[in-house]
């Protein structure tokens, strides 16, 4: 479940892979891990969604789909219940994802605004 949560995985699928009936699988899982497989799977998906909200610029809808959920409405409800705020508000609480883009120096040199420029390279003044 840890690696394939992004697929349309259901508890029934996992139970089948374990060779158990769904009810028995759920019981055994809960006994072993302390929570139901459904909750575990959902939590994993929401954790991934939270990471993608912080570190990618994908839309909420795209993120919902890419963690294996289909309904944006129920995704938003579940997310808010777990994280206390909606996906959009959660994202706004952190620096934009672009902050974490390690743009290589050779790219910045051509496109970025130089900071602390103390010499006139193109005749323009120092820019901050």
């Amino acid at each position: 479940m840890d690696s394939r949560y992004a697929e349309r995985l259901t508890v029934a699928d996992v139970a089948r892979a374990a060779g158990l009936g769904r009810a028995q699988f759920s019981r055994e899982f809960k006994r072993a891990f302390g929570e139901s497989p459904h909750v575990y799977l959902l939590t994993r998906r929401l954790e991934r969604a939270a990471a993608m909200l912080r570190f990618t610029d994908r839309s909420v809808a795209e993120i919902c789909m890419s963690v294996g959920l289909e309904s944006i409405g129920s995704f938003t409800t579940s997310f808010t219940r777990t994280y206390g705020v909606s996906p959009t508000v959660y994202r706004a609480k952190f620096p934009p994802a672009s902050t974490f883009a390690h743009v290589p120096g050779c790219v910045v040199r051509f496109y970025g605004r130089p900071r602390h420029q103390t010499f006139r390279e193109d005749g323009g003044g120092a820019r901050t």
């Binding site: 570190f55 990618t56 994908r58 890419s66 496109y111």
Partner: protein
């Protein structure tokens, strides 16, 4: 003091590479940001589930002005040949991983072979990068 954070592979198409590394290899997206103000530069990293402290950046081969066209052609040619750098992956069960990945459509150029250090196979990504997948059986290697 420093640590290795990210290793890099050139890719010819970031969307295609992303689909390969996530859907076929099962890695997860770590970051995916496009910066229009940097000529549309897209910082795209992926990594294996359960190994959060390292990632692979799938970097688009740039054109001018960052990289001149002749150099970009050279890079594209090297990538297609699989000589533009590689990533060595390890697994607990090379044969099982080889079968699972093959079933998902990964193109293997070398089936699992016995080596002094373990069992080793190789596959390519859509750009041509050659990656190794190894099961270490020799302790301390």
């Amino acid at each position: 003091m420093y640590k290795i954070a990210t290793t890099q592979l050139w890719v010819t198409d970031q969307d295609e590479a992303l689909a390969f590394y996530t859907r076929k290899l099962g890695m997860e997206v770590r970051s995916d940001v496009t910066l229009p103000e940097m000529g549309g530069f897209r910082w795209l990293t992926v990594g294996p589930v359960g190994q959060p402290d390292i990632a692979i950046v799938l970097m688009a081969i740039p054109g001018p002005p960052v990289m001149d066209e002749a150099t970009a052609d050279d890079v594209r040619a090297l990538v297609a040949k699989g000589f533009a750098g590689t990533v060595f992956l390890t697994t607990e069960d090379c044969q099982a991983e080889y079968e699972a990945l093959s079933a998902r459509g990964v193109e293997f150029v070398e089936k699992p072979q016995q080596q002094p250090y373990g069992i080793d196979c190789g596959f390519r990504d859509p750009s041509g990068n050659h990656l190794r997948l190894t099961q270490i059986t020799m302790p301390g290697v």
